[in-house]
Symmetry: C2
Subunit: 212 residues, 2 copies
DNA sequence: TTCAAATACCGGAAATTTCCGGGTATCCAA
DNA sequence: TTGGATACCCGGAAATTTCCGGTATTTGAA
């Protein structure tokens, strides 16, 4: 009996390619492909034979990897989820693990390691990539410290901040005083632990709060 | 006789996956894989049977797609190059086409279209994805206006600029005077047509000069 | 050899960003 | 009803960024 894998990634070529790769592993088959989280949930709902393991891209349109993992955990608890991402920033890793993923893999993983990871997850329920293992304790310790909550206004401000506009111009676009947007700036600096507007914008991009 | 394909992409999993996908196309085989441009050139040099077509990721470390395409065109003119990218901004497209690529494909292309494109390129020497066709005339008209050349020092400065460092700190890291880095800043502002450091960094990211 | 481009440097001033302190009003949940 | 989070506002000063004007040396290609 094959280990059935589900794949969700918004990049079509990567999705189909990875599917071809995994199908070529003996003992594995791909039973569901989706271009976003919502599509994956639909396929799981309608599937006769659900995948044992679903690989989820972290950043997808319509429904991102985190929310999808959460929904899968609730609706199909027998299906194991694995995060697949290009980034390995602490926040993403934590968010996915907290959403119930039993592994966090990087997209530049070696195919052999991927196969090994999937085998491990199928049999023992989890797999820790080397880089994760090292940090896991530190991450879980500082857990509640991190994950600062970004308000809607701050998010809106971030959009304007990632441009050539001065704060004065941003204030007028948001119909606020300069001092108020200065407040948002200050709040985000401390939440992101940065010291400049450039750092703030880059951190926002890294946290997927901004698309560029 | 199979159509031989070469692949260069820094993302290991994508590289191997795409290789699996293309190998599964009847009449195709993958005869060279590389994680960057330099590696690909070495493989081409040593290969007994060179690929007919090489797919190049636009943004790679060590040697990017553009330079690789150029070098392939010079050293192995019989090998056709194809750009493979996530982005479709005018500059990237132009740069790759000018470097001698006979097609510019997006990474979320449908596998069937990829196969069709490769077939076309093999037999007729070129393939235009829909989106390119529309813009090609406009692009070629405005050609020389665009494409500001970024020097190595400017590129290095950009790396430092995409951080919390002040220009003073950047200057000391680069062993230059503050005024000199101010010169780089000024040059890049005008090349990118922006008015602030944030704009500069974001534009650099858009042009694949910086990774985030 | 001559010219352009890249590199390196300088001063001064205006604009913007950053940091510090303070404050009020509302709303919601404990 | 008290506390906490959010949204909003203010002044002042220091640091940084931006813009303007220059000059000199090196280097490689025409």
């Amino acid at each position: 009996m094959d280990i059935r894998i589900g794949l969700a990634d918004d990049q079509q070529l990567f999705l189909r390619s990875l599917s071809a790769l995994i199908s070529s592993f003996p003992g594995f088959s791909v039973s569901a492909e989706a271009l976003n989280g919502e599509e994956m949930l639909l396929k799981l709902r309608d599937a006769e034979e659900r995948p044992h393991i679903v690989l989820l891209d972290v950043s997808m349109p319509v429904m991102d990897g985190c929310m999808t993992a959460e929904r899968i955990r609730i609706s199909f608890p027998e299906v194991k989820t694995v995060a697949l991402s290009m980034k390995q920033d602490d926040d993403s890793v934590l968010k996915m693990l907290r959403a119930g993923c039993c592994a966090y893999l990087l997209k530049d993983i070696d195919p052999h390691e991927l196969k090994w990871a999937l085998t491990q997850i199928y049999s023992s329920g989890y797999y820790n990539a080397g880089f994760i293992k090292v940090n896991l304790n530190r991450l879980l310790l500082h857990d509640q410290h991190k994950q600062p909550v970004i308000t809607d206004r701050e998010r809106e401000f971030l959009k304007y901040a990632s441009s050539d506009l001065t704060y004065k111009q941003i204030a007028s676009k948001m119909f606020l005083s300069e001092k108020t947007v200065d407040g948002y700036r200050e709040a985000l600096f401390s939440k992101f632990n940065v010291k400049s507007r450039v750092g703030m914008v880059l951190e926002a991009v890294r946290r997927d709060l901004l698309r560029i």
